[in-house]
Point group: D2
Chain length 117, copies 4
């Protein structure tokens, strides 16, 4: 992975949209719809599988899933760019919050939501 992989992807997506005159369609509202549509294509691969099966995909299935994850990342980077958000920074900040909301000693082995403790 190169030193600025998400930055590179962002720039690549900007160029891709500009060359196709697609910025007119890329409002955050529209992009959030495109993103969830991709997240649902991921869901479709797993909907009839057991949890174990979802961890043991055939190489073909895994390749398809990989492409869905790619699509999600693409739209995620694109929305973040359109809103001027630094994704990595946001995720790091969120993990700091999560550490407070879900103290390891309290939530150990439980999947309850933080407001259910």
């Amino acid at each position: 992975m190169s030193s600025d992989s998400l930055e590179n992807l962002k720039t690549c997506l900007q160029k891709f949209a500009a060359e196709r005159d697609w910025d007119q369609f890329h409002s955050p509202k529209n992009l959030s719809m495109a993103l969830i549509a991709e997240a649902a294509e991921l869901i479709e691969h797993f909907q009839w599988l057991t949890q174990e099966q979802s961890s043991n995909l055939s190489p073909d299935k895994l390749k398809e899933v990989e492409q869905e994850l790619a699509d999600i990342l693409i739209y995620l980077v694109r929305i973040a760019d359109k809103l001027g958000i630094d994704l990595i920074n946001a995720a790091n900040e969120k993990m700091d919050l999560n550490a407070v909301k879900y103290p390891a000693s309290v939530v150990h082995g439980s999947s309850k939501k933080y407001d259910e403790y």
Copy 2:
């Protein structure tokens, strides 16, 4: 952004889950559900807005949206890790495919799907 920001996030998430004994819940199937639930929280911010409004969020709203994007990235990195997928590599490969499916000269200014041309 550091040289291995997504790698760092992946490691941080591994540690977070291990400390809480949460790997038992983190099947790709379950994580795909958590991811789409976060994608829907993003949708909720935009559902009654016009496209223009979605591009001009108040600072408070923008902060909330930033946290939703963070949550999506977190689950995305987590699924990719569980399935051994390199996200950046996958996205770059997908963009190569997209360049073939959507030649700039053909799709210019159009939002049709590649199979509608």
Copy 3:
């Protein structure tokens, strides 16, 4: 519409699943995934359209959208059946709650959430 149209649909879906030995796949968890996948196919039709365009679909597009709505209803009826929930009753109760949460005089012309007033 016949006198017991949702009941008829429920029975039809039971028979359809039984004949195919599909009840083994139809846990509420799995059905909730199938339902959101269909909801996302609906989203896909609208993601690049303006709001006005989404109200003025071509006959072909409208037919496709009709089938997505059908799929959503099918899975909705199926989950409700699996959980012993009466959908119409539930919707009527929810509308009573909504009338309290969103008094017409307070929320007139506003799309804010009930906890934002």
Copy 4:
């Protein structure tokens, strides 16, 4: 269930929106977003559960799930109304198609998609 339960719900929703001047927000595009947001709230209840657990909800959880199903039905009926679609008719037609796509003798006990046979 009364003889025209979905029709009644449709009329109730029309009145509810009119009294609040909400029709301005209820484009099919926006309603599809609201619908998927509700479908995701359903997903959230199930995301960390096993399939068996999702079939055996506590009374409290079941009540919450019931309200999510209600919300989905409400938005589904609303979109159908805005697009002039008869939901029951659409679902019946779709089930006729499904019977052709998934012949019981061929798909028995399998969860593959129709184009995977």
